[in-house]
Assembly symmetry: C2
Homo-oligomer: 358 residues x 2
């Protein structure tokens, strides 16, 4: 076991800090939540609300799922905040996966121009991807997270025990982001950890899980602190695999592929594209692909010729553009990324089955 502190602080724009705290079990978590005061407003969904023996007095329970991630839910949270007399120095606590945490954080960012915020992510994806970094938001007119803010939580409480109840696919959904962090990291510690501890990781052995989360968040912290508002081309590196992955998700209409499955596949496409463009060393590409294959992601998947136009159309809609041209994250080696356009013929060679057949 790699020994680390059970606390980490991430410094964001304006010198605001997020403290990441790891808690052993749900009892310890409940005790910690009690320290945020009687008026604290809990935001949960009907699944995560079940993790409480007794819900905090002030609470709002939303329907689970992406369908709740809208302006109507924000209005509900704000109305509840007003009616329980929440003050600017009181806390909104988001307790759930990405949808709940993003909604609670956005509401906190605008209530009285910003009240206190605590996030308790309950899915692996949310723990490693969504809760540190301060991005908040909701879906609007078909655009994912089209409206939002940058508003870091004071505290992020991580209780690996909440991961026990995730189904296998949901667990792998988050694990893909951990693997992505291993490729992006300046050192090989996380990469080697993933190779040597596979069985404990897949069994969700508590101490291993804790280490995995700590190592993964440590990588994310470095990118976020250098570029909190994604304006310097550094934080964008965390989008490794996402341009390919989102297009796969979108062309599969968000049901055939989970976010994590798309990202895993997309990371491998990005490694191959980098290799084809002479940027990524062959051995580095192969060791990366090996990692995703080792964790049984379907990285051999290729789209059919009939899907190509749809796919490249989704690629062109990617938000990360410079002068109208989509920027991909490609790798030159361990921790060494570059943001660059990728020609369509290279994209085609990476994603299409039999690209050379005319």
């Amino acid at each position: 076991m790699i020994l680390m502190n059970d606390q980490m602080t991430v410094t964001l724009s304006g010198g605001k800090n997020t403290n990441v705290l790891y808690l052993d079990d749900l009892n310890e978590l409940a005790t910690k939540l009690g320290t945020y005061g009687n008026r604290a407003l809990l935001v949960a969904d009907s699944n995560t609300a079940n993790l409480f023996k007794r819900l905090p007095q002030n609470n709002i329970i939303l329907e689970p799922g992406e369908g709740s991630k809208n302006l109507g839910s924000i209005e509900k949270i704000l109305r509840t905040a007003v009616s329980v007399g929440l003050g600017r120095d009181d806390y909104i606590i988001g307790f759930g996966g990405g949808v709940i945490c993003d909604l609670a954080a956005f509401a906190a960012s605008i209530y009285m121009r910003g009240c206190n915020l605590v996030l308790v992510p309950t899915s692996l994806l949310c723990m490693v991807d969504a809760t540190i970094g301060g991005k908040t938001g909701f879906d609007f007119m078909g655009g994912k997270n089209l409206v939002g803010s940058f508003y870091p939580a004071q505290d992020v409480l991580i209780c690996p025990q909440t991961l026990k109840s995730l189904n296998e696919r949901e667990y792998h959904n988050g694990l893909a982001e951990v693997l992505k962090h291993a490729i992006l990291s300046e050192d090989e510690i996380l990469y080697k950890f993933l190779l040597s501890r596979k069985s404990q990781i897949l069994e969700r052995e508590p101490k291993t899980l804790l280490n995995l989360l700590q190592l993964s968040l440590q990588v994310k912290k470095i990118f976020i602190e250098k570029d909190p508002e994604e304006k310097k081309g550094i934080r964008q590196a965390l989008n490794l695999g996402h341009t390919f992955g989102h297009a796969l998700e979108s062309s599969g209409r968000f049901s055939r592929f989970s976010h994590g499955e798309g990202v895993a596949w997309g990371c491998c496409c990005a490694l191959e594209a980098g290799y084809l463009m002479g940027l990524t060393p062959k051995e580095y590409m192969e060791s990366g692909i090996k990692l995703f294959s080792f964790y049984k992601y379907d990285i051999e998947y290729r789209i059919g010729r009939g899907e190509w136009l749809d796919f490249i159309n989704y690629i062109s809609k990617d938000k990360k553009k410079v002068d109208g041209v989509v920027q991909f994250v490609l790798m030159k080696g361990q921790g060494n990324y570059v943001l660059t356009p990728v020609p369509n013929d290279i994209v085609m060679r990476c994603v299409l089955s039999n690209p050379n057949t005319k």
Copy 2:
């Protein structure tokens, strides 16, 4: 005439700058607006929209008045932004008084987690009070500006020509904040300017108006830059007169007294309260009251005994509290303020007619 630069830069939290630009006339303003690109979205109300010979292509026109300052208007602005294909690097331009500028700025702060923002205040109150400093927001469940954000505009464009059409009461509504700035300023330049240029100011002589705006904003800039998010007890000084003034406005149910009339009256109450508490020198109190009297504010107004309980109840609802106790801004002399509670009997002596009659 006092010569100053026709530009000022205000630095806010996170190192963000607001450039304040002064423009000679509406033609110059229209030319400047053209530089923000074809996709820029103009937010105006049906009054200010009339100032355009031809409206910019992308625009949303709201009903004038405080009644529009709600979540519904925010949703309308966001929907229009999506439907015209506004990008994160494009501009939302708020063109109007405080309601329009606060709404446009809030929408810009959350669209794609923050797009570009330009504010064009068209009332004196909005020019001197609302557009620099980055406060945005809308009314919610009866709370004025209960939901909002801190989001400074890149550019604030001030065209004194737009003030020509204001009626006398609306002009005085803004002028009260200028007088307040004269009391708060570390030097006497603005105070002396107000005494010596009264007729030109009341006639709205263009060059005098320009100087007045520049001097007034210079004072506000100093307080805002030292405490952008109102967390250090410095920016709060700009609330001089507002605790008394808001209570007067509220007890008059926002119709009998304009904001400016309330602030003018409240500044005089605060000067007197400070004097009664031994904080404000007598001569300083008298010179301040003389200024408001000189500009014909009704500072002799006193509330009736039957209105006292309502009035003190409004005072106690003031947002500026420390440990539940309302903090008044009182003056120890030119530019020398203090935040302190004021005992009810002192408040009574300042606001009540015949407070000593039992």
